[in-house]
């Protein structure tokens, strides 16, 4: 085991994966706590699929899929808020319509990537991630984007809490509700796109929702939930990386995909936490009420 561990930490590929994975885990889980609180998991999923349009389109233009993901995600977030607030109740409808169109475009771009761009691995890379094949030159950019996202969340922390309670209530307290919800959606888009880059557009919501939902089983305080979710997410991502790395030896040269092992760790973490809380009186009360 220690031989595997030393090889694990010595590998440059693993070092890049752990650096990016840690940033993505912290950002996704902190934003995830607010996403669950606001009941916007669906918007998170839609942003992942719209980001995939950019990620798959980037191959055609020959630029890094990171920028494709980020640009498409942020534009989509601003557009979603603009369309959604025109009718207060229309948020789900607007999200759904744009979401479907995004999936179609991604299918088109991925086909073109293979036909014209010759990128035969584009589909796997965009949809299921590429944590072990990231360019280490991207690490500073990803860290910077992570810091920006956390800075936005830190700034609008109380605004979003108030706006989640009630829009008019927030406005009555002097919070610009529209600015608050738009900034939150931009932070959500950035978190989801960074996550898409690591474990893929399809699986990115697992990292957004999983660790946050696990943390919420143990605390009723917002700041504690965010801190706990971040710790859980980092442990799960590192565990996923380690298992994927070690599985290379178990199957004689063909390892499990790291996206699978991370999502498996997230899933098992949540199921385990639910089991633990269900065995306690407090957990039982929550499960009932």
């Amino acid at each position: 085991m220690s031989a595997v561990l030393s090889a694990f930490f010595a590998s440059p590929t693993v070092q890049t994966a752990l650096a990016v994975g840690t940033v993505v885990a912290v950002v996704s889980s902190v934003v995830g706590v607010f996403t669950i609180t606001r009941g916007q998991s669906f918007a998170g999923h839609a942003l992942a699929d719209l980001g995939a349009v950019g990620g798959s389109g980037a191959f055609l233009l020959g630029v890094s899929q990171l920028w494709g993901f980020v640009l498409a995600g942020v534009i989509s977030a601003v557009a979603m808020e603009a369309i959604g607030t025109r009718r207060l109740e229309g948020r789900d409808v607007a999200t759904g319509i744009v979401f479907g169109a995004g999936m179609g475009l991604t299918a088109l771009f991925l086909t073109l990537d293979t036909l014209i761009g010759g990128s035969s691995n584009a589909a796997i890379s965009v949809l299921f991630g590429s944590l072990f094949s990231l360019d280490s030159a991207l690490v500073p950019v990803i860290v910077a984007l992570g810091v920006v996202t956390l800075a936005i969340m830190t700034a609008i922390w109380r605004w979003v809490a108030l706006e989640t309670l009630d829009r008019d209530l927030a406005a009555a307290r002097g919070v610009p509700p529209r600015t608050a919800s738009t900034l939150f959606l931009v932070a959500l888009a950035l978190a989801v796109q960074l996550s898409s880059l690591s474990i893929g557009a399809i699986l990115s919501t697992a990292l957004l929702i999983g660790p946050a939902a696990t943390a919420l089983l143990f605390t009723r305080r917002l700041s504690t939930a965010a801190a706990l979710a971040a710790v859980i997410a980092v442990v799960e991502v590192w565990l996923g990386c380690l298992v994927a790395f070690a599985s290379f030896d178990w199957f004689g040269g063909s390892s499990w995909p790291v996206s699978f092992t991370i999502v498996a760790a997230v899933f098992l973490g949540y199921v385990g936490a639910r089991t633990v809380t269900a065995l306690r009186p407090f957990g039982h009360r929550m499960a009932v009420g």
Binding site: V33, I36, T37, G39, T154, A155, I156, W157, R158, W159, A161, L162, T164, L165, D166, D168, L169, A170, A171, A172, R173, G174, V175, L216, T219, R220, R221, L222, S223, T224, A225, G289
Partner: protein, 262 residues
Amino acid sequence: MSKASRLRDPDVVLRARGIAVRLGGRTVLDDVDLDVPPGAIVGLIGANGAGKTTLLRVLLGILRPQAGGVRRPDRRAGIGYVPQKISLDPQAPLRARDVVMLGLDGARLGIPLGRRRLRGAVDAALAQVGASDFADARVGELSGGQQQRVLLAHAIVSRPTLLLLDEPLASLDPVSARDVVALLDDLRRRSNVAIVVTAHDLTLLLPVLDRVAYLAGGRAAVGTAAEVVRDDVLSALYRSPMRVVETAGRTFVVADDAVTHT
């Protein structure tokens, strides 16, 4: 006297003049005036769709009227607002005391730090509305009546001079509704806060109301209950015969059957 100086008056906390609102081509409010003195409870009474909530949003300063003006206290600390209801996920990590704390610093940027010195004010507000027992519960898990008390504590914690409540009695059973009315009466006596409350039925509120703004057809009849809650005034407002019926010490407003059924 200029309009600006006419709006400045120490005897009113809130003054609205000539408020007109059109929403989607429909005239919701037309030339509505309202004065709210300190310590008074003013009822905005009317049927669903009469414009009560619209007027409340104008008074609150989150809806700009097409005509007219409102002079009000500073929105951040001077006005407390209690929405009719909130819908919050039961899992949401916001305790009752967190919601009340947001009444003090919710508009500030950055993560909340150094809030210890604010805890006394939060505990006092929770105690004042009888919400101390569920101060540490998740707000999403509380009943509608309990959530309303928490929102009321949120509204009063910044010691506002004006409190606006949207249909606080709408979803309550009669006993809880009576308790809320008593709570509002107690609040204005103790802290001299002016209270504006909307309701579709004035029966429960009538004993504590100092002033009534009865809304119908975009217009408002404003005055004391004795001046407004009368057959002739309400009949003129509704443009249809109305009767004020008193029974068992309560007052009800009904359409005049003798006329409408012919």
